[in-house]
Subunit: 327 residues, 2 copies
């Protein structure tokens, strides 16, 4: 199969590049640590020009040989590469946003190779507490395309991570989303707070400790919120009820439990319906497994995980932008 598109998922800590053929079929893929906060720094000559721009260097490292072999391949990229700290700041598009509106708003950066890199805008929902995302919109579009119109109001798309996103869609449009800083709060508390001092990290996933944390978040005591229950990760250690190795996954379950308990309450209120929506998760498989466990504990009965959401989303956006032709 002939390559038709280079698709790049370029986030804060990593860069993933895909060479795609007809239908978004993945011919080859690569993963580099060259996220926008970890760009290469050693100057190099690219196509006869001395270059010290980290974005050019990372792009060349990831895709240079593909473009040497096929210089007319179109290139599309999503994620933090379009942020104020990225290669070029691409303004957010307002909700509701779909594959057509986003595909028509790609922003081209001309690389040293003479190739345009078409950057996908992020999405903003303007409200009293505005919400933004960059990269997740593309993954959501990849999932929505697969559902081919079957996505109704009984569906919620979850993207667990440092900043988890929960996205509601209607008629192929991203209409509303929320952000929870659960992953980053977990990381800074483990690394920099008193809770980390008694944790012993690096062991296998302790399912029982994780489930216990989730149950505490869902309990009567959990109604006081994470600022209150957090201290139990320490006090249960002091009383010998939680081992040093169990504390990490207990804290993880506690925070994810608080996130999902709030999510369930909000969903019931917004829908005015006790039934909870179906969930499709996108992201790191281990993290999605944790979220699946906790979602089930919170009463979300129908939880599935999506595959290849990013590359599918980028393919659809490239089609909508006319970078490639649909046959």
């Amino acid at each position: 199969m002939q390559a038709q598109l280079i698709a790049v998922d370029w986030g804060t800590t990593s860069l993933r590049a895909y060479k795609l053929a007809e239908g978004g079929h993945v011919l080859e893929q690569r993963s580099l640590a060259a996220g926008i906060m970890h760009l290469p720094v050693s100057p190099r000559v690219i196509r006869g020009q001395a270059c010290s721009n980290g974005f050019e260097l990372a792009f060349d490292e990831a895709c240079g040989d593909w473009l040497d072999a096929q210089p007319d391949l179109p290139v599309i990229a999503c994620g933090m590469v379009g942020s104020a700290q990225g290669w070029c700041e691409v303004p957010y598009l307002d909700t509701p946003a779909n594959v057509a509106t986003l595909g028509q708003a790609l922003h081209a950066v001309r690389s040293l190779r003479g190739v345009d890199v078409h950057i996908v805008p992020g999405v903003i929902e303007r409200s009293r507490l505005p919400n933004v995302m960059r990269g997740e919109e593309t993954q959501v579009l990849g999932v929505l395309h697969r559902l081919a119109g079957e996505a109704g109001s009984d569906l919620l798309i979850g993207l667990p991570g440092s900043h988890s996103k929960w996205v509601e869609a209607a008629d192929g449009c991203i209409v509303h989303f929320d952000t929870f800083m659960t992953g980053e709060v977990f990381a800074v508390l483990s690394e920099h707070s008193i809770l980390g001092r008694t944790q012993q990290r690096g062991g296998a996933f302790d399912e029982a400790a994780f489930d216990r944390g989730v149950q505490v978040a869902l309990s009567r005591e959990g109604e006081s919120g994470p600022l209150s229950t957090l201290f139990s990760a320490r006090s249960l250690g002091l009383t010998g009820e939680l081992s040093a190795t169990a504390q990490v996954d207990y804290l993880s379950g506690l925070l994810i439990g608080h996130e999902l308990s709030a999510l369930a309450n909000t969903q019931r209120r917004r829908r005015n319906d006790a039934r909870l929506p179906s969930i499709i998760l996108i992201g790191n498989a281990q993290l999605c497994n944790r979220y699946s466990r906790a979602l089930n504990a919170c009463g979300f009965a129908n939880v599935t995980q999506a595959e290849q959401a990013t590359e599918r989303g980028l393919w659809q956006l490239a089609l909508a932008a006319g970078l490639i032709a649909s046959r």
Copy 2:
């Protein structure tokens, strides 16, 4: 007036020593940075003996000249000095605890000077999520003594800090308390998370930004909890609605607002009464002022601040222990 007692408030980051006369009157006081995590390290000769024990060195620095002048002065100390990382671990006393039970459970450490340092135990409330405190119990006793039996079930004593404590008392006993890690969460998020990257710190207290954060925590959106609202400290910056200097106090108001909103809900539920209790705050005046503002916004109408709670509590405990005689 003749000195009768040396009272020491010895916490994680600082040590405060008081020379007290009849009735707990403060003759002299000192503040050192020699908290149990910041002890002196340079060996010194104390009463003819070479010494490299940080606790001995700090104690001698704080109180040596007082004891030189009056070697028979009794010494009492509260706080983290009695923790597993302290001079000597003193087991927690269970709730309910009062000045008599705590005063009878002081633990003496013989210092190099031959003087006993009588350490006050902390208090533990054993429940599904156990709670512990060390030092705060003494401050609470200082306040309860001043109230002289007037403290009823309509009173809540608050001790804002890295780990805020909210204490319920009955008949002079500490009967229940909760912990919120608000102060430490604020610190680690400001110093180590993405929220800190856009904050400009060091300015004067921005009351409007603080109040705005409190209002968000109390709003409909706030019901999703701090893991969700936290992201607004960033997104409101991205949309230009919150300046870099305002972000610090907005985050502070947001977290304190979530703490106090949860506290108000829990109090209403526990008392089965829509009316909220009176509040007495103990602690750093600037922080207590922030809590007063937020408590008022949450509907707590009667909020006062206590003075000299620690030295009064230590005096009462020394009386109860018979270290000094009441005249």
